[in-house]
Amino acid sequence: MRVPLGWLRDYINFDLSAEELVDLLSLHSQEVEGVERFGVLDGEVVVGEVVEFGPHPDADRLHVAKVDIGGQVVQIVAGAPNPYPGARIPVVLPGSTLAGIGKIKRARLRGLESYGMMMSERELGISDNHEGILLLDDNYETGQPVEEYFPVGETVLDIDVMPNRPDLWGMIGVARELAAILDTDFRIPETRFETGGEPTSDYILRVEAEDLCPRYDLRRVSSLRSGTSPIWLRRRLYAAGMRPVSGIVDATNYVMLETGQPIHAFDAGKVRGGIVVRRARPEERMTFLDGRTRTLDERMLLISDEERGVALAGVMGGEDTEVGDETTETLLEVATFDGRNVLETSARLGLRTDASGRFERGLDPNMVDYAMDRVTQLLCEHCGGRAASDTLSHYPKPVKAWEVPLRIERTELLLGTPVSEDEAAKKLRALGCETRPEDGKIQTTVPTFRRDLRREADLIEEVGRLIGLDRVPEELPGVFSPGGLSADQRKVRLLRQLLADLGLAEAITYPFGPDRWESDLTGDERDSREPIRLQNPLSAEARNLRRVLLPGLLDAAARNRSFGVQGGALFEVARVFEPDPPSAEFREAAIRFRMTGETGGEVPDAASLMGVSETLKVGAVLFGTVQPAEWNTPETRAGFFEARGLVERLVPGASFEPGVKPFLHPGRSAVIRAQGSEAGWVGELHPETAEKFELGGWPVAVFELDVAFCDPDPEPRFKPFVNVPAVGRDLAVVVDSHIRAGDMLAAIRDLHSPILAGMRLFDLYEGSPVPEGKKSVAFNFTFQGRETLTDEDVNSEVERIARRLEEEFGARVRSS
């Protein structure tokens, strides 16, 4: 709501700067988003009379005027060609400051002295018209300050009105609010107008869709003349953010801005028979004020005459009955429509207007009377109108003020500060409520324009903000339960910290992606099912919910590559989404649950009705040179083992088994198993997948794990140890190349050697002198017994290991 302060002063006296008002409103009512200034900020504008007007001798586009500014004739250079000798025009004197222009100085323009400036409507803040100099009529006396006729500067507050306060969508409501904050009075303009115009009852009014139209009033105003509105009115509309159009339209807009009540004026001469308020027929078409024809449906409320639609209720008028220069009489519609219906209609048509924004919040039907009289008054005063003495009104169920009791102890409890009964009652009365004590409570009668005040808590909020929230002290509740993270939450925290400390960077990526994500990562058994789709994605590129973290991370890797990064490692802990639709028999129950929260008796449980299963995953992508070489360390490049090492750190005891994910390198990937289940996968990216994600030719290794299987810091358990020296031994064997190291390690473990305390695979070698098709695998063992081991003890155990490797894998011990 844009509030021109000059206009606001019609209703309330205040002696505050714009900045003070901003603070007051922000701290007690609504946030003020900005302060805008128009016209003359400082200085003087006088009425001048043009004495001479002609072209500038040295500039094609400039003109020179001699202007009488009251006993003194000055020379002014102007760009506009429209002044003429005898014209009265506004002249801003040198030394004045204009909004958006700055200080006006005496200047020389192309060699000629110019004293001040003749002003356009835009420069005066009347409209955005900058076509020519504003021509004043003969009522303006030469030499007089223009300020005596209309204000030449304006300050506008842009108030961000919350949706529960439609009453603040009008100047009167703002004045009432400010008066309550300042503890002062405000006034509403009286309405008086001459009747004697043609009777409204020549037309009919029939409301067929009563459920969508609580009130509809119609009044005829005749003998109108065309023309523009007076300057003071136009400049107010402009400052409030509307475009002045014509006398009739401006009057309706002015009263809308004043009261918050939208008003529509039909050209009565074009309305056939009268007004019928009904639902539109299927496929009914109407051409709107904006010149566009739209197709309506039977859910929409239409204002029609006996033959065709003339306005879409609460949204926009129709072109056929639009008022124009030739209009001599109008039917004024002041009505209240069902807010939700207006909201839905404007959403369906994608047509939001100033009016629809007001109606959809729900307006007070009792505002109709004042708005009708007020707009009638303006039409009579400014457009020569004569009002009908009758008004057709449909208002079958008048809304009456309601009562809400307020308990002072409840007020003090919620606000956490002492409040006296007198004080609370006074604040409520300042807002237009009536109060009386009753049974130890403040019985409050709420005016109908405050539809948001229904309950005690609503009144308490009003009292709180008016006494000032700064009065609320700071206290801390005494919490009697221990706080903390759950074990799972601690685990996630640890997981993230650990991966970061291992040198990875934590990313957060969007969970929506294109269809391509699905096709590029398909091949899995579950992919016969559709992903979860957004019905209204921002674009087709973001319409499916991800079922793996991978694509977002790959896109990020590609983005980094395109910016010249040599490599790196990213991880994300986030959810993936799988469809989990309820079976057909529970489909209805699912929708009921989703809309109402209710679960019927025979339905299994709420989770199964959600239709989506969300799983928390940790995923990582290593790409390019993860760690560059330093002078004493080699570089680390993204590869299977770099990724696998991370997985081993996150899932102790994980086993790695072959298992082909279509997007991974078939020979360099594994399925991760833990606790008997599939916990995730790890591997290098399939070259084709890499190309699809613009990572072709780069080493990329990835893994993804179900967080449930991760256990980065398992609960330790003490095992006794002995103070006996340990003995180290190496064993190198030669086996066929295809023998898998993991199988050998497992075979050794399976010996359950009583003295084998540790082992490492420390060397792997193929090539001369190892015969082709063979490889050398070297182990280091640590032996320790209950007592000091002898050489024989150790040798015989190493031999036992060698024997097992020979039996199982054909391993031959390499002599050193």
Binding site: Q30, E31, P163, G339, L343, R361, L413, G416, R455, A457, E461, G464, R465, L469, D470, V472, P473, E474, E475, L476, P477, V479, F480, S481, G483, L485, S486, R496, Q497, L499, A500, D501, L502, G503, L504, A505, E506, I508, P511, R533, L534, Q535, P537, L538, L545, L553, D555, N560, F563, V565, L570, A574, R575, R594, G597, G611, E614, Q627, E630, W631
Partner: protein, 342 residues
């Protein structure tokens, strides 16, 4: 030459040999030569018994004295040599200490997550638990149960992504309030971090962002408790000198509703050209309020017995303010030039 003179001569020889030894190895040779098993002095001591009785005492004494003197000289000189040798060795072992150390990579936690962790830890310290909920949410939990029935204009304010019938991507973390209250009896003290979604994309809005929601329901909770809690959090997050203020606001699921501003932690309101607060002196921080009685009733709590407060803040924006990040979109691009700064 008698025995004592011989001993004296050996001693003199030995002492000069000790002094002349240039390394610990040479010194060892000297020791072997003069005090070793087959050294003359050693032999002399061994043969004392064969000397006439009147000489024994004198020779013995001379031999012992000489031995002790040589030993002392040896050990003194050894200490000197060892020290010199150690020094030389250390000198030779010197490295270029200006070379960089072996790299142990620094962790990079996402700036938003850093804020979330810090805020969560603060509330955990106050006795809150962490609650979580699904990101795909039902219409009921996301709106209706929060006093935003179908057709309510407040739904328009939260541009919603719709899924299958009755499902949405949650537009705020507030549905977790409802889920939490349905699952337990009061008192409730929970903090709820999470990702939320709105159908918005422009320089200051991303279709996904993060929220931290807080909810407390107990006997006798008031706006003063809310104010004290949030002011303490602001001081913890922005510094001890941070001031806070409440402004009235509107949320469908709180009544009264407030917004909280914090004093600008950069200029404190003293700089009209401050880049952080743009001269206002205050930064909009979060929305909050007393839980609306309709919400309490919806979950089966008696609003006469229990009151509560709820608040919601944006950790992305808090990170922007805290770390001086100009553009929200940077948060979700996975760009290492960005992430590596945190």
């Amino acid at each position: 030459m008698d025995a004592t003179e011989r001993i004296e001569k050996l001693k003199t020889e030995a002492l000069s040999a000790v002094a002349g030894a240039g390394s610990t190895a040479e010194l060892e040779d000297v020791r072997v030569k003069y005090l070793g098993r087959s050294a003359e002095l050693t032999n002399t001591k061994k043969s004392i018994g064969r000397l006439p009785a009147e000489q024994r005492r004198e020779v013995g004494r001379a031999a012992n004295l000489a031995t002790r003197e040589i030993e002392e000289a040896l050990s003194e000189h050894a200490a000197r040599l060892t020290a010199a040798e150690r020094e030389a060795r250390l000198k030779a072992e010197a490295v270029d200490i200006t070379l960089p150390g072996t790299p142990y990579p620094k962790g990079h936690l996402h700036p938003t997550q850093r804020v979330i962790d810090e805020v969560v830890d603060f509330f955990v310290g106050l006795g809150y638990r962490v609650a979580e909920g699904p990101e795909v949410e039902t219409d009921y939990y996301n709106f209706t149960a929060l006093n935003i029935p179908p057709g309510h204009p407040a739904r328009m304010m939260q541009a919603t992504f719709f899924l299958d019938d009755g499902l949405v991507l949650r537009t705020h973390t507030s549905p977790v309030q409802v889920r939490t209250m349905l699952a337990q009896e009061p008192p409730v003290y929970v903090i709820v971090p999470g990702r939320v979604y709105r159908r918005d994309s422009d320089p200051t809005h991303t279709p996904m962002f993060n929220q931290i929601e807080g909810l407390a329901v107990d006997r006798g909770l008031s706006l003063a408790h809310l104010k004290g809690t949030l002011a303490a959090m602001a001081r913890s997050f922005f510094g001890e000198k941070t001031k806070t203020r409440f402004r009235p606001s509107y949320f469908q699921f709180t009544e009264p509703s407030v917004e909280m501003d914090v004093s600008c932690f950069v200029c404190g309101g003293s700089d009209p050209n401050c880049k952080v607060c743009k001269g206002a002196g205050w930064l909009e921080m979060l929305g909050a309020g007393m839980v609306d009685p309709a919400v309490l009733e919806e979950v089966g709590y008696d609003p006469e017995e229990y009151t509560g407060f709820a608040f919601g803040m944006g950790p992305d924006r808090m990170a922007m303010v805290r770390y001086g990040i100009p553009d929200l979109r940077l948060f979700f691009e996975g760009d290492l030039r960005f992430l590596r700064q945190f």
